[in-house]
């Protein structure tokens, strides 16, 4: 049996790495991925708790999170496509104007 | 040594099972290519492979050798890692998906171990299968992207879009079956089909999900089969590798063994899909006849012995010496198998399940080949609109109807 706080620590570490990626990547798509990474870390925590407390609500929440992530990916990637169409770049540091 | 074996017997057994399954699957793949070429040839009124070995039976070996020893160029400017990863991914996933399929009902008893046919029996088998299929996209997509060439890229784009959109229909069309069987485990699904209440209260074939009440899954089956064909990039959905448009699609830049991997992956997934079809909708290893008709248990031998005799006769009057030597032997083996089944009832009982399952799989494979030989290819927009506007709604409707039918039946 793996103690719960192992999972929690792992999820904390993953989250931290996600934050690092979130800050240090310049490519919009990658930044988006790092957000997904953070979401996954949170999911891990959810599942760990649901196992620890022996209640399924955590897993239900994971499902919701996944759904939201899917929706977010659809819209976000649409936005990214628009950005690239208008700015011809994926580098967030080059996309710092409100309008062209 | 022995005690180690004793301790980790289950691990050992599964290893052995894996090895055997691998061998069988690969061989079947090889001969599937031969079979396909033959059938398509006869559809197009040709002879097909006829030179290498009698009836070209050794053609697959020749192809295999060619794949192995052919030069393997790596195009310039490809992303090496991904370029090598893609075919491995494809093949690995395809082979993994076979692992969850159970091939027979009752286990072999060997030194006090029950050895089931089939490597693992997950209680989320079908979900696992879908998970693996879902990942299957990457093989194609990455291959297309990594080749750093335009036709593969187009092929990769097309395939990723196509697979993602048909995966929905695939999953949805199965939900009906899951509702009726109430389990993710393939074994349970088959068993419920044995027990379920059949159409017109009849037994046997009428208890299979395709016919069984409360709502026959014919719609579900059609959606599933079409979507599955699309998933496996077969005609008429083979746009990722459309020769006439994209040279060879995503594997244009692949040669020799890496190409072979894609090839094997494709045929393996064909087998997987066929077995899924037969398990989900056609009662897996169940016999189409009512259990009371025990005489049908002799059907395998009744089929095998005449076939073997025919092969012998055919070999005897075959023109090449080689053929005269080989074919009678093969025929004898087949006939002997039939004889064994007749003589040993235990063996006969044991092989009933596998026999039916394999024959169903064989029929579906034949349908695959048949379609390949006859149907034209979709246009890309047609493909998309078909998938989204027809297949998905129909399978959703199927889910709704099935659910309400079940509710209505056990109210």
């Amino acid at each position: 049996m793996v103690p719960t706080h192992y999972y929690l620590t792992l999820s904390a570490i993953l989250f931290g790495l996600g934050v690092v990626a979130f800050i240090f990547k310049r490519n919009i798509i990658t930044i988006f991925m790092s957000i997904e990474l953070m979401l996954n870390a949170v999911n891990l925590a959810f599942v760990a708790f649901s196992r620890a407390l022996n209640k399924l609500d955590g897993q239900v929440f994971v499902l919701f999170v996944i759904v939201v992530a899917a929706a977010e990916a659809a819209v976000g990637l649409g936005i990214i496509i628009m950005i690239v169409r208008n700015r011809q770049t994926l580098n967030v540091e080059r996309v710092d104007l409100l309008k062209l | 040594m022995n005690d180690f074996l004793a301790q980790h017997a289950d691990i050992l057994i599964s290893l052995v099972k894996i090895a055997i399954l691998l061998f069988v699957v690969l061989t079947v793949n090889a001969y599937l290519t031969w079979f396909e070429r033959k059938v398509v040839a006869h559809i197009q009124s040709r002879w097909g492979p006829h030179r290498v070995g009698p009836h070209g039976l050794l053609q697959p070996l020749a192809d295999g050798l060619k794949f192995l020893f052919k030069e393997d160029p790596t195009p310039a400017g490809v992303d090496k890692f991904v370029y090598y990863l893609a075919p491995l991914l494809a093949l690995a996933l395809a082979l993994t998906s076979i692992a969850v399929i159970p091939f027979g009902p009752d286990p072999l008893h060997f030194k006090g171990h029950d050895i089931y046919l089939g490597i693992v029996d997950l209680n989320i088998g079908i979900l696992a299968l879908f998970a693996i299929t879902a990942l299957g996209v990457y093989g194609v997509a990455l291959a297309g992207w990594a080749s750093n060439s335009k036709y593969p890229l187009l092929g990769g784009l097309r395939s990723s879009a196509q697979m993602v959109s048909y995966e929905l229909a695939l999953t949805m069309s199965v939900v009906g079956v899951l509702l009726m069987c109430g389990s993710f485990s393939l074994r349970d699904i088959i068993n419920t089909q044995a027990a379920g209440h059949g159409l017109f209260g009849l037994g046997g074939i009428f208890r299979w999900n395709i016919f069984a009440g409360p709502f026959p899954q014919i719609l579900g089956f059609l959606c599933f089969f079409i979507a599955a064909i699309a998933e496996t990039n077969r005609v008429p959905f083979d746009l990722p590798e459309a020769e006439s448009e994209l040279v060879a699609g995503f594997h244009t830049e692949y040669a020799s063994f890496k190409f072979a991997m894609f090839f094997i992956a494709e045929y393996t997934s064909m087998i997987t899909v066929s077995s899924l079809c037969s398990i989900l909708f056609f009662g897996g290893w169940l016999s189409p006849f009512p259990g009371s008709w025990t005489f049908t248990h002799y059907l395998p031998s009744v089929l095998l012995i005449p076939f073997g005799l025919w092969v012998i006769w055919d070999g005897v009057r075959y023109e090449t010496i080689f053929g005269k030597l080989i074919l009678p032997g093969v025929g004898f083996v087949i006939a002997a198998l039939g004889a064994v089944f007749v003589l040993f009832p235990a063996v006969n009982e044991f092989i009933q399940g596998p026999f039916w399952l394999l024959s169903k799989i064989f029929i579906f494979l034949f349908i695959y080949v048949w379609m390949r030989g006859t149907l034209p290819r979709f246009r890309y927009d047609q493909l998309m609109s078909f998938g989204w506007k027809l297949l998905l709604p129909v399978s959703l409707a199927n889910v709704v109807i099935t659910a309400s039918a079940i509710l209505w039946s056990n109210r």
Binding site: I23, I31, E93, L98 | -
Partner: protein, 658 residues
């Protein structure tokens, strides 16, 4: 008793008519609008008649008859309900309002036939009827105040009916604003009453008030203050000094409006309120005295102004003010029934006068200046006769209505123990003036040779719809007073008898006291009054028919007085100088320039500028660089987590972390 249980029908009918006309009337032909307006008021008149019939059959213990329909306001222990009440006083008012109102509606259909906004006019008129009926039927001060404000509103709307004419809209505003002053006092009065009695419903309030000791003369007790405040409101509504200034200007409205609102009904609301709360007044002799003084003063004052006015309607307006003064004089000397009596008769003949003058104006094609009239008696005979009747009535010639009412007022004034003689003297003087300027009006309008261009103006008699009400009112103003006539030959005065249950409960002892000396004084005083009236007639006759040039000479000879009167004692100018100008200055220089511009705007702008400054500083954090934003997000997350896990982060807890 059906209608008494459904009293609300009486006001509801005009409201319905008003709503229908106001909402849908715009496209309709005049006929339909007439039907709706006149029909609704007529029906409510019939309903009122029926109500009175049933009222007469009521057992005395059921009077006053109060109906509670629904609770309108309820706050703490304060309840103001939509309660209607009927007693003798209400009956009189009800009949006057609905009856005269109905006649005037009929008259208006003829008078307004060629005006624009026909439906609008009748919608307003019906609305006025509704509010007036609420006012007279109300069973508590709050609902009464609703009607009070409502009639103010409708009068505002109707004065400004020709709102394209600036003078009209100004007059409307003036009326409204001046009334606000009075209403303010009225509200304060209500608050004080509620504070001291805990209710504003008439019946319990008066019941509580009756046993209390009255304030002593010249001492400001609660009663006195409350009554004075209420009286302020009455002054506003009933155009008494010093708040009368709006009424003359109100003549900008159509003549039927002047007749209905500014002569017959609304302006008498003040008198009604004073009479209604007579119990309070009888407990406040000081207030009573004030009322008497103000009434008397107003009567005389307005009459003097009326002497020299040349605009026919203005003459009538000032006459109205002075007659209202009479009524207050009556109330002031505790002769409430006399006041109400005069209210009724005045409603008849003053409405008649206005309507007749309206008919004259109609005939003259909109001309209102008497100096441009003359010799109309032949051309418009009916108008002439009716108007003559009204004049005789108001001048106090027996046996017309005005004679009896005015006579009883003077009698009561004479009898009153505080300065009675002086009040009487002024009353008599006013009577003289009244008869003078009324006959002056008649002579200028109907006699002498025409002073207008015969070719331009072709004089014509008014249509039936206008004449019929005139005739009816004429008849009323002849016989209207006879119900009080028997007082002369000692028989009881029916009107006073009828109202007695209302006013007796105040324990107004002087009513009985009067009885004794009444008969002794009755005849001589009456004779004096008649003589006065005749005198006024004679002067007018002499000045305006015998010696037509004389008035100018007079005016020249005493120019100062003449111009003073002609400019109405410069009251408007004085008000402008004393009140309006300072107010304007205050609001312009202090409130606007200092408080608003410097203070409020300054604060707002200052804040805005401060924000701008802050923004300039903080702006640089918004570099538009997403990565920096990411860092900010992270910082925020850290802060939040730090807050949440603070208990865990305490050094004591650190030891446990392994």
């Amino acid at each position: 008793m059906p209608i008494l249980n459904y009293l609300w029908i009486i006001p509801a009918l005009p409201l319905l008519g008003s709503a229908i006309n106001g909402l849908f009337g715009a496209k309709w032909p005049n006929k339909i609008i007439n039907t709706v307006a006149v029909g609704s008021t007529g029906l409510s008149f019939l309903a009122a008649l029926e109500a009175v019939r049933e009222f007469t059959h009521l057992a005395p213990e059921n009077i006053p008859w109060v109906q509670q329909y629904f609770t309108w306001i309820i706050a703490g222990d304060f309840r103001a309900g939509f309660d209607l009440q009927v007693d003798q006083l209400t009956v009189v008012m009800l009949l006057v309002v609905t009856g005269v109102g109905w006649l005037i509606h009929i008259y208006s259909t003829g008078y307004m036939a060629h005006e624009g906004g026909y439906y609008r006019f009748f919608s307003y008129l019906n609305l006025f009827m509704f509010f007036m009926l609420i006012l007279v039927l109300a069973a508590n001060y709050v609902l009464l105040f609703v009607g009070w404000e409502g009639v103010g509103l409708s009068s505002y709307l109707l004065i400004g009916f020709y709102f394209l004419r600036k003078s009209a809209s100004d007059a409307g505003k003036k009326a409204f604003i001046v009334n606000r002053i009075g209403d303010f006092g009225f509200m304060l009065g209500m608050f004080l009453l509620y504070k001291s009695f805990g209710t504003l419903d008439f019946v319990p309030l008066f019941a509580k008030a009756t046993p209390l000791p009255a304030d002593v003369m010249g001492h400001l007790g609660m009663f006195t203050i409350a009554c004075l405040l209420l009286f302020t409101g009455a002054c506003g509504k009933s155009a008494q000094l010093p708040l009368y200034v709006w009424l003359p200007d109100a003549m900008e409205g159509p003549t039927p409006v002047s007749a209905l609102i500014h002569a017959a009904t609304m302006v008498t609301a003040g008198v009604y309120v004073v009479a209604r709360s007579h119990i309070l007044f009888t407990h406040a002799p000081t207030a009573m005295f004030v009322v008497a003084i103000v009434g008397c003063a107003t009567a005389f004052f307005a009459a003097t102004i009326g002497l020299v006015q040349t605009d026919i309607k203005r003459v009538l307006a000032y006459s109205t003010v002075s007659q209202l003064g009479y009524m207050f004089l009556a109330c002031g000397v505790a002769a409430f029934s006399a006041g109400i009596f005069h209210l009724m008769t005045h409603a008849f003949f003053k409405a008649l006068l206005f309507l007749a003058s309206g008919s004259v104006i109609h005939a003259m094609g909109g001309e209102q200046d008497m100096l441009k009239m003359g010799g109309l008696s032949k051309k418009i005979r009916w108008t002439y006769l009716t108007m003559l009747t009204a004049t005789l009535a108001i001048a106090g010639f027996p046996p017309l209505a005005g004679f009896f009412s005015k006579d009883s007022i003077l009698l009561n004034a004479y009898q009153s123990d505080r300065g009675g003689r002086i009040l009487y003297a002024f009353g008599l003087l006013t009577a003289l003036l009244t008869s003078f300027y009324m006959f002056r009006l008649i002579f200028l309008t109907f006699f002498g040779k025409p002073r207008y261009d015969e070719h331009k103006v072709h004089v014509h008699e008014s249509p039936k719809s206008m004449l019929v009400p005139l005739v009816i009112l004429a008849v009323l103003s002849i016989i209207g007073g006879w119900i009080a006539a028997p007082a002369f030959w000692g028989a009881p005065d029916y009107f006073a008898k009828f109202l007695e249950p209302v006013f007796a409960q105040g324990g107004a002892g002087n009513a009985e006291a009067a009885e004794a000396t009444a008969h002794a004084l009755e005849t001589p005083l009456a004779i004096v009054a008649v003589v006065t009236a005749l005198l006024g007639f004679a002067i007018a006759f002499w000045l305006y028919l015998r010696r037509p040039g004389k008035p100018e000479q007079l005016a020249k000879s005493m120019r100062g007085a003449y111009t003073l009167l002609l400019n109405k004692y410069y009251v408007d100018e004085i008000y402008a100088a004393l009140i309006v100008k300072p107010l304007l200055w205050l609001s312009t220089n202090v409130l606007w320039q200092t408080v608003d511009v410097r203070g409020i705007d300054g604060t707002v702008n200052g804040i805005a500028e401060g924000m701008t400054g802050v923004g300039d500083g903080v702006r640089h954090t918004q570099s538009g660089n997403t990565r920096s934003y990411a860092v900010w997000v992270v910082i925020g997350a850290i802060v939040i987590i730090a807050i949440i896990f603070w208990p865990y982060m305490r050094p004591t807890a650190v030891g446990v972390v392994r």
